[in-house]
């Protein structure tokens, strides 16, 4: 019987074919089962549903900051003074680790409003307001310094603090998300 199966030496036998086919179907099946088991850990529908928040900004004075919560993370809403905006714009791009113009980090005509994710891009701590060597934020966890535009200037963080999607629905109201 085995002679019959193995008579063509250089060609796969029927038994080899069955082995490979069975293994392949088994692997595909295992992959199909693994997929839901892995993706169940991704953000679920209830987490994704909390995607937008509304913030009243009418009471924020110049030079001060409020913190809103969005997706479990703090959002810094900072109403900068004119000097601070000037200072942010004077910085040359080649001094920056993650070069980005201050103009690109705010909405046009709303230059005093800096709205950003208050999360250090190093390991996710919340930086402290009005501290650090660049007059912006300082992360106490591992010593990252951010300037008044939220750009990384010194320390281990690789990127500027992130700007979320947001819009001014009126002069006093902001929607984040």
């Amino acid at each position: 019987m085995s002679d019959e199966i193995n008579n063509k030496k250089d060609q796969p036998t029927r038994r080899e074919f069955i082995h490979i086919a069975t293994t392949a179907v088994g692997a595909v099946g295992a992959g199909c089962v693994a997929l839901p088991l892995v993706t169940q850990m991704n953000p679920d529908a209830s987490v994704k549903a909390l995607a937008k928040v509304e913030v009243d900004i009418s009471k924020i004075e110049k030079g001060s900051q409020v913190t809103a919560m969005w997706r479990g993370k703090p959002i810094f809403i900072r109403r900068r003074t004119d000097e601070e905006v000037q200072k942010a714009r004077k910085v040359k791009l080649d001094e920056l680790k993650d070069p980005q113009k201050d103009e690109d980090r705010v909405k046009k005509g709303k230059d005093e409003w800096l709205v950003m994710l208050g999360v250090c891009t190093h390991l996710g701590c919340v930086p402290l307001n009005q501290q650090g060597e660049y007059g912006g934020w300082f992360c106490p966890c591992h010593g990252s310094h951010y300037d008044i535009s939220g750009r990384i200037r010194k320390g281990p963080a690789p990127k500027n603090m992130e700007i979320p999607n947001y819009e001014f629905v009126s002069d006093t109201k902001l929607i984040i998300g």
Binding site: P43, R71, G72, L123, V126
Partner: protein
């Protein structure tokens, strides 16, 4: 290795053993198992570690009966354990300090292996299984520390899970997958609880493999030589080693109880008695003491990905040690130069640990950078070169020999014991 002539004495024992030879297995591995007769107290930490694992599993199962894994309830359920549950304070303090004692014992166990060259051929697999156990211990300890949902829990979890965001391209999706959201939150707490419950049983499985692999070549010993085949170098595990292990365990338990009853919070961080607040990071985040050396390595690198790679590299490099160490002599007793480097490594790790607890700035940062470079240099440069350069002392032919002849080697060996 095991006594093949073993027969249970009772009729029931015989009946059972013929159907499932469990008694033969226990007799071979826990009674007759031949152990080198010169094992010192540094060899008792294997037994102590087994005790620690069992303690953590038992107290952990009990705590899980009273704990609630929900972001809104976890903190108060831990307070409920401390105040309302009968002896809850005792069980929780044993569990929390038990983690520290577990790591204390495992560090002694690891450094014992480093001193006496226990990782070298033919024991590489035992060593690598040990590193897997150590990594799982760190994972279990980290996730366990998150469960009380205090400030250090929350921010420790944030910092550690953010390490994965350093992975190029897929980093962000990986972290969100780990979190089950856009930040550390209730889904994260839930899965950490599930995994924290799972990991000790994975460790238990690896411990069985670790002991199985150990019982193939048998124990290394303070002089680090292969044993004579005639059995003159060995004593049976029971009662000789069992009693010695138990005595060491009692001493260890005194220290353990000292922490539990007199200083139950000294190894923890007071910030963890503040409920988690995602809007405020504590001004000074530190991990538990046993993770500090790796934390110092992470912070010493001014680049995010680089820091993460070096931190994990610091653990993984241990797995390559059997091949990085080129010396044929196992025990540091006969390696005068290595012995000095061994103690330098101990000091280096302690320095890193201290730096991990200090703020990452100025002199502290400089010292942790030097210590990080030295840590890697020890394994990558010193260990391979030293094996070729070092002139080792003469090694005895057997454990029995120098004792009988009273030769100088044994006297030297005895004096040099740490």
């Amino acid at each position: 290795m095991s006594d093949t002539n073993y027969k249970p004495t009772s009729a029931l024992g015989k009946w059972f053993d013929e159907r499932l030879p469990l008694l033969t297995l226990f007799n071979g591995h826990l009674m007759q198992y031949p152990t080198p007769k010169n094992l010192n107290y540094w060899w008792t930490f294997g037994g102590i570690l087994t005790f620690c694992l069992v303690t953590q599993i038992i107290t952990g199962i009990v705590l899980a009966m009273h704990y609630t894994a929900h972001a809104d309830l976890a903190f108060s359920s831990v307070e409920h354990i401390m105040r309302d549950v009968n002896y809850g304070w005792l069980i929780r303090y044993i569990h929390a300090n038990g983690a520290s004692m577990f790591f204390l014992a495992v560090y002694i166990h690891i450094f014992r292996a480093l001193f006496y060259g226990s990782y070298k051929s033919p024991r590489e697999v035992i060593w690598i299984l040990g590193i897997f156990i150590y990594i799982l211990m760190m994972a279990a300890a980290f996730m366990g520390y998150v469960l009380p949902w205090g400030q250090m829990s929350f921010w420790g979890a944030t910092v550690i899970t953010n390490l994965f965001s350093a992975i190029p391209l897929i980093g962000e999706s990986v972290t969100q997958w780990l979190w089950g959201g856009y930040s550390v939150d209730n889904p994260t707490l839930n899965r950490f609880f599930s995994l924290h419950y799972l990991i000790p049983f994975l460790i238990l499985g690896l411990v069985i493999l670790h002991i199985w692999a150990l019982h193939v070549p048998g124990n290394n010993n303070p002089v680090g030589i292969d044993l004579k085949k005639d059995g003159s170098d060995t004593v049976p595990f029971h009662p000789y080693i069992v009693i010695k292990d138990l005595f060491a365990l009692v001493i260890f338990m005194i220290v353990f109880a000292g922490f539990v009853f007199y200083a139950p919070n000294v190894l923890g961080h007071s910030d963890n008695y503040i409920p988690a607040n995602p809007l405020v990071t504590p001004s000074h985040i530190v991990p538990e003491w046993y993770l500090l050396p790796f934390y110092a390595i992470l912070r010493s690198v001014p680049d995010k990905l680089g820091g993460v790679v070096l931190m994990f590299g610091a653990i993984l490099i241990l797995a390559a040690l059997p091949w990085l160490d080129t010396s044929k002599v196992r025990s540091a007793i006969f390696r005068p130069i290595y012995k000095q480097f061994f103690w330098l490594l101990v000091i280096d790790v302690l320095v890193l640990g201290y730096m991990g607890a200090m703020p990452a700035e100025g002199t502290y940062l400089l010292i942790s950078r030097i210590a990080t470079v030295y840590y890697f240099a020890h394994f990558i440069i010193i260990m391979p070169i030293l094996g070729f350069m070092e002139k080792t002392k003469p090694v005895p032919l057997s454990i029995a020999d120098p004792i009988i002849s009273g030769s100088g080697n044994f006297a030297a060996a005895k004096k040099d014991k740490i």
